[in-house]
C-alpha cells in the first residue's frame, strides 16, 4: 500500500545487510501450507491461562496488568479532577470560604502531583503495557514480572500517597516543591516528606516500566517488522521510555537530596551553608519539562495511528513523524530552564533556553501537519475517536502557540506565575494527552471489551468536554493578563476577575459532566474480556487487531508492511491457523520470540515467567518501606525493606532455570537457541538501561557538586591527598577486574561441567573491593575535615558516596545470591544469565565509583 524509498541508496550502509546472519530467503516459506497438528491451540491456552479467584492477584500477563494499570490511572484522573472542582468552587466568587487556605494549598499541590505523577505518566505507560505486545505480535513484554511489580508498586504507593489528603497531611508546597518553602524551616510537618518519598518511589515504578518498554520494543517485534515498519505508537513509546530513563533520575536525585536535607540537616539547598535553592529548580525542571513531552509523545503516537484509521489511508509523512518524535525527544532536554526565566539567570543563558524552547515547536509542528495532511487525504468518518482526534489537534495547537509566546523571555516575565500559564499548560496537556486518551479509549476498547462504547454517548462526551475545556481555560488567559496569580486561594472583588472566574468554574463543571457521561458509558458497555472481544471496530490496519488470546496471536506473523491487515486480508486467518512463526509452545513453557533490534530477524526463544506472588509481595513491602520512612517508623521500614529484598530474590530464583533443550524450531527448518547471554540477550539490554539510569543519577550528582562549587567556592576545602585517591582507584579497578574474571572463569568450563566455586568467589571479591574503596573514600574525606551537615560540598560528597554505597550494598546482596545459587548447583556452564548479570552490575558499580571518586577528589582542584 505504501512505499518508502531508501533514504540514500548508495550511502546508507545499513541497507540490505543481515543484522544477525539470518537468511532472509527463509521468509519465503511463510505462510506455510501444511496444516498444523491438533491440540496446539489448547496447549497454548493451558500454558498461558490466568489464575482464578484471589490468585488473579499474582497474574503477570499484559492483558490483565495493562487493564489494571489503565483502570488505576483513570481512577487517579478522576480523583485529581474532583480536587480541581473543589478549587474551582473556591474561586467561583471572590472571598469564598469553601476551602480553608491550608486545604486549598493541599488541593492544588495534590491536583498537580496526582495528574502528573499518578495519572499522566502511568496512563501512557499502562496503555503501552496493554497495547504493545499485541501491536508487535509478541506473546508478552519481555519481563512480565517487572510489569506486575511496576503496577503494584504504583497502585499501593499511589493510593497510600493520595490517602494523605484525608488526614490533612497531604503535601502543600506546589507540585514542584521548591525549597526553601519545602525545607524544614518553613515546612516542618511531614506533608512534604509524603511527597518526597511517595513520588520518589512511584518514579522507580515508572523507570521499571520504561526498561520493560525499551527492551520490548527493540527486542520482541514480529519478524520482518523493521524499524521503519514499526507502528507509530511503538516509536513514540520507545522515545518516551528513553526520555524517562534520562529524565527521571534527576527528580529521583533531587527528592533524595531534599529528604536528606530535611532529615539530617545536610544543606544542599541552604545558601547560608554553601547550598543553593536554584539547584533544586535545575534538577527538578531537567525532569519537569521533558515530562511534558514524555506525556505528549505517546499520545502523539496514538494520534498518528488513529488519524490513519479514521481517514483509512496510511499516515502521511511516516518518516517525518518519526524524525519529529526523535527530535522532540532531544530538544526537550534543552528547555528546562525556561521555567526559571524569572530567577535572575545570566542573560545569555536565558537566551539559549528561549531559543531551544522555540526550536522545539518545529518537530511538534511537523507532527500536527502530518495529521492534518492524513485527514485531508482520506475520507473522514466522524466517529467519536475522530471527534476527539480533531478536537485534540485544535486544542494542542492553541496551547502550543501560547507556549511559543512564553518562550520569549520578556513575555514570560509578564505572565510568570499567573493564570495565563495555568491556561497554557492545561491547553497543552488536555489537547496533547487527555483528549487523545479518550479517543484511544473509544478506538481500542474493542481489544478488551465484549462490546464497544456508545457512539451516541461518545459524541456527548466529546461535546461536553470540548466546550467545558474552552469555557474553563480560555478566560484564564485574560485573568492571567489581568495579574491574577496562581496558587492563591482567593481574590478581592471589583478587580474585574469575578465574571471570568465564575465562567471558568462553570466550564469545569461542564468538563466534569462530560467525564461523568463517559463513566455512564463505561458502566453500560465495558465488559472486560481476554478472548471474546468486540474486535476491530474502526478497521485499523495494524497487528493488534489480529485474533488473540492470552498467548497473544496463535502464530507470530511475518510483517511485510506498516498496515499488514490492510495489505494482506488473509493474514488474520493465516495467523490463526498457525501458518507463521512459533505456532505452538516448543518447550511446554511460556515463551516468546526475540528478534534483532533493527531488522527484527529471529534470534532466540525466551522462556517467560508465569504468575507469581513475589512481584506483588515485593511491591507492597517496598511501598511499606517508603511510607514507614515518611512517618519515621524506622523499625517497620527496615523490616519491610528486608522482606522486599527477599521477595525480589525469590522472584528472580525462577527466572534462570537450567533448560536441557538447547534449540527450538520456530518455523520450518528454522532453529534458534533457547537461553543465551551477552549482547544478544534481553537481560543484557535491561541491565544496560538500568546502568544508564544509575549513571544519570551519578551524573546529576556530579552536576550538583560542580554547580554548588560555582555558586559558593568560598566554603570548599581541599580534597585528601593524591596517594589516597590513587589507592581508591586501584581498588575499584581491581573490583572491575574481578567482575570480568568471574565470567572468564565460568566460560572456561565445557557445557554441563561443574563450574566450582571460583566464579562466584570472584564476584564476591569484586564486591569486597568496591566496599573497601568506599570505606577508604569516606574516611579520607572525614579525615580531611569534611562534614555533611557543614557545607554544600560536604553534603554533595557524602550524598554521592551514600549513593555509591547503595549500589555497592546491592552488589553484596547479588554476590551472596550468586553464591547461594552456585552452592545449589544452579550455575550453568559455560554461560549463566545470573552470573552474567551480577558480574556486569558489579563492573558497573566499580566504574561508577571510579568516576565519582576521582571527579570529586580532582575537581575543582
Amino acid at each position: 500500500m505504501s512505499s518508502s524509498p531508501l533514504d540514500s541508496a548508495e550511502a546508507f550502509a545499513g541497507a540490505r545487510r543481515s543484522e544477525t546472519g539470518f537468511d532472509h530467503d527463509l521468509y519465503r516459506q511463510f505462510p506455510t501450507q501444511h496444516p498444523r497438528p491438533e491440540g496446539e491451540v489448547e496447549e497454548l491456552e493451558r500454558i498461558w491461562a490466568a489464575p482464578k479467584g484471589w490468585a488473579l492477584l499474582t497474574v503477570v500477563n499484559n492483558n490483565y496488568i495493562g487493564f489494571f494499570y489503565v483502570a488505576t490511572a483513570f481512577l487517579f484522573f478522576l480523583l485529581a479532577g474532583v480536587l480541581a472542582l473543589g478549587m474551582r468552587v473556591q474561586l467561583a466568587a471572590p472571598l469564598m470560604d469553601f476551602l480553608p487556605q491550608d486545604t486549598y494549598n493541599q488541593f492544588f499541590t495534590m491536583h498537580g502531583t496526582v495528574m502528573m505523577f499518578l495519572f499522566a505518566v502511568p496512563m501512557v505507560e499502562a496503555i503501552g503495557v496493554m497495547l504493545l505486545p499485541q501491536m508487535l505480535a509478541a506473546r508478552d513484554l519481555p519481563f512480565p514480572r517487572l510489569s506486575a511489580y511496576a503496577f503494584w508498586a504504583y497502585f499501593v504507593g499511589g493510593l497510600c500517597f493520595f490517602a494523605s489528603i484525608f488526614v490533612g497531611l497531604a503535601p502543600d508546597g506546589g507540585w514542584f516543591m521548591y525549597p526553601p518553602l519545602t525545607s524544614i524551616a518553613f515546612s516542618p510537618e511531614i506533608n512534604t516528606d509524603f511527597w518526597l518519598l511517595g513520588i520518589g518511589f512511584i518514579e522507580i515504578s515508572a523507570i521499571a516500566g520504561a526498561i520493560e518498554i525499551i527492551v520490548g520494543v527493540l527486542r520482541t517485534r514480529a519478524p520482518g517488522m523493521t524499524l521503519d515498519r514499526m507502528p507509530m505508537f511503538a516509536w513514540a513509546m520507545l522515545v518516551f521510555a528513553v526520555m524517562i530513563v534520562v529524565a527521571f533520575p534527576s527528580v529521583i536525585l533531587c527528592t533524595l537530596l531534599l529528604e536528606l536535607e530535611r532529615a539530617f540537616n545536610w544543606p544542599f539547598f541552604d545558601p547560608t551553608r554553601g547550598g543553593d535553592p536554584l539547584l533544586w529548580q535545575h534538577l527538578f525542571w531537567f525532569f519537569g519539562h521533558p515530562e511534558v513531552y514524555i506525556i505528549f509523545l505517546p499520545a502523539a503516537g496514538l494520534m498518528s495511528m488513529m488519524v490513519a484509521t479514521i481517514a483509512q489511508v496510511p499516515l502521511v509523512g511516516y518518516r517525518l513523524n518519526v524524525v519529529a518524535l526523535v527530535a522532540t525527544g532531544f530538544i526537550s532536554f534543552g528547555v528546562w530552564a525556561h521555567h526559571m526565566f524569572a530567577t535572575g539567570m545570566p542573560r545569555l543563558s536565558t537566551g539559549y533556553f528561549s531559543a531551544a524552547s522555540m526550536a522545539v515547536s518545529l518537530p511538534a509542528g511537523i507532527q500536527v501537519f502530518c495529521w492534518i495532511a492524513t485527514l485531508a487525504s482520506g475520507r473522514i468518518r466522524w466517529t467519536t475517536p475522530a471527534l476527539f482526534v480533531v478536537g485534540s489537534i485544535v486544542i494542542f495547537t492553541m496551547g502550543g502557540l501560547t507556549g511559543v509566546m512564553v518562550a520569549m523571555v520578556p513575555f514570560d516575565w509578564q505572565v510568570h506565575d499567573t493564570y495565563f500559564i495555568v491556561a497554557h499548560l492545561h491547553y497543552v496537556l488536555l489537547g496533547g494527552m487527555v483528549f487523545p486518551m479518550f479517543a484511544a479509549f473509544y478506538h481500542w476498547i474493542g481489544m478488551t471489551s465484549r462490546r464497544g462504547l456508545s457512539e451516541r454517548l461518545g459524541k456527548w462526551v466529546f461535546g461536553l468536554m470540548f466546550t467545558g475545556l474552552h469555557v474553563t481555560f480560555l478566560p484564564m488567559h485574560l485573568t492571567g493578563f489581568m495579574g491574577m496569580p496562581r496558587r492563591v486561594y482567593t481574590y478581592l472583588p471589583d478587580r474585574g476577575l469575578d465574571t471570568l472566574n465564575l465562567l471558568s468554574t462553570l466550564g469545569a463543571f461542564i468538563l466534569a459532566a462530560g467525564v461523568l457521561v463517559f463513566l455512564v458509558d463505561l458502566a453500560r458497555n465495558l465488559r472486560f474480556t481476554t478472548d471474546d472481544d468486540a474486535g476491530n471496530l474502526y478497521k485499523g490496519g495494524t497487528l493488534e487487531w489480529l485474533p488473540t488470546g492470552l498467548y497473544s496471536t496463535r502464530s507470530i506473523p511475518l510483517v511485510k508492511s506498516r498496515e499488514p491487515l490492510w495489505d494482506d486480508p488473509a493474514i488474520c486467518k493465516d495467523v490463526e491457523d498457525g501458518r507463521y512463526f512459533l505456532p505452538n509452545s516448543t518447550t511446554g513453557l511460556r515463551e516468546t520470540l526475540v528478534t534483532s533490534p533493527i531488522n527484527a530477524e529471529p534470534q532466540y526463544l525466551q522462556i517467560m515467567p508465569g504468575p507469581s506472588p513475589w512481584p506483588i509481595g515485593a511491591a507492597v513491602t517496598t511501598a511499606g518501606f517508603f511510607l514507614a520512612l515518611t512517618v519515621q517508623a524506622y523499625a517497620f521500614a527496615a523490616t519491610s525493606g528486608i522482606i522486599s529484598v527477599i521477595c525480589v530474590l525469590r522472584w528472580m530464583w525462577d527466572t534462570d532455570p537450567p533448560v536441557k533443550q538447547e534449540t527450538a524450531e520456530i518455523g520450518p527448518g528454522i532453529n534458534v537457541p533457547i537461553a543465551i547471554t551477552g549482547p544478544q540477550s534481553n537481560g543484557w539490554w535491561a541491565l544496560n538501561v538500568l546502568a544508564v539510569v544509575m549513571g544519570m543519577i551519578a551524573l546529576m550528582g556530579l552536576f550538583s557538586y560542580l554547580y554548588l562549587f560555582g555558586i559558593h567556592p568560598e566554603v570548599w576545602i581541599a580534597a585528601p591527598g593524591l596517594g589516597q585517591t590513587a589507592g581508591i582507584a586501584t581498588l575499584l579497578l581491581a573490583a572491575l577486574g574481578f567482575a570480568w574474571l568471574s565470567r572468564r572463569l565460568l566460560a572456561s568450563h565445557k557445557k554441563g561441567a561443574k563450574p566450582g566455586q571460583l566464579p562466584w568467589i570472584s564476584c564476591a571479591a569484586s564486591s569486597a573491593c568496591s566496599i573497601a574503596a568506599l570505606y577508604w573514600d569516606l574516611t579520607g574525606w572525614q579525615g580531611a575535615g569534611l562534614a555533611p551537615e557543614a557545607t554544600g560540598q560536604g553534603a554533595t560528597v557524602f550524598g554521592m558516596l551514600g549513593y555509591q554505597g547503595l549500589g555497592a550494598a546491592i552488589g553484596v546482596v547479588m554476590a551472596a545470591y550468586l553464591g547461594y545459587r552456585s552452592g545449589r548447583g544452579l550455575l550453568t556452564t559455560p554461560r549463566s544469565v545470573t552470573l552474567d548479570t551480577v558480574a556486569r552490575f558489579l563492573g558497573y558499580i566499580a566504574i561508577q565509583g571510579l568516576v565519582l571518586s576521582t571527579v570529586m577528589r580532582l575537581l575543582p582542584g
Binding site: 505504501s2 512505499s3 518508502s4 524509498p5 531508501l6 533514504d7 540514500s8 541508496a9 548508495e10 550511502a11 546508507f12 545499513g14 541497507a15 540490505r16 545487510r17 532472509h24 521468509y27 519478524p223 520482518g224 523493521t226 524499524l227 521503519d228 515498519r229 509523512g317 518518516r319 517525518l320 518519526v322 524524525v323 526523535v326 527530535a327 532531544f330 530538544i331 532536554f333 534543552g334 539567570m345 545570566p346 542573560r347 545569555l348 543563558s349 536565558t350 537566551g351 539559549y352 533556553f353 528561549s354 531559543a355 531551544a356 522555540m358 526550536a359 518545529l362 518537530p363 511537523i366 511485510k560 508492511s561 506498516r562 533493527i598 531488522n599 527484527a600 530477524e601 560555582g710
Partner: protein, 94 residues
C-alpha cells in the same frame, strides 16, 4: 510488500548523530554562559563551537550521501542545523 524487503530502509543513525551534535553545542554554550556570566568570553565561545557544530553537520550531510530534505537523515540534519544556528543567535544579539 513495501520496497526494501525485510531490511530497515531509513538512516536513523545519521538522524541521532545530527541531533546529538545539536545537544553538544547547546550544552557547551550553556555551560560557558554560567561559568563566565556577563563576560564577553561566554559570547565569543559560541562562535567556534557553532562553527564546529555546523562543520560536523555538513560532514554528516556529505557522509549520508547528500540526502533530500524529506528523508529521515535529511530532515534530521535540517532540524539539527536550524536548532544549532538558532542556539547561536543569543550570543550574537547579546
Amino acid at each position: 510488500m513495501e520496497n526494501g524487503g525485510f531490511y530497515n530502509q531509513h538512516d536513523f543513525r545519521t538522524l541521532a548523530i545530527a541531533l546529538a551534535v545539536w545537544t553538544a553545542q547547546f550544552t557547551i554554550l550553556w555551560i560557558a554562559s554560567i561559568v563566565f556570566p556577563a563576560q564577553p568570553l561566554a559570547r565569543w565561545a559560541a562562535l567556534p563551537f557553532t562553527l564546529l557544530a555546523v562543520g560536523a553537520l555538513a560532514w554528516l550531510y556529505l557522509r549520508a550521501g547528500r540526502p533530500a530534505l524529506l528523508t529521515t537523515p535529511g530532515l534530521g540534519l535540517a532540524i539539527a542545523a536550524a536548532g544549532t544556528l538558532f542556539n547561536a543567535l543569543p550570543s550574537l544579539l547579546g
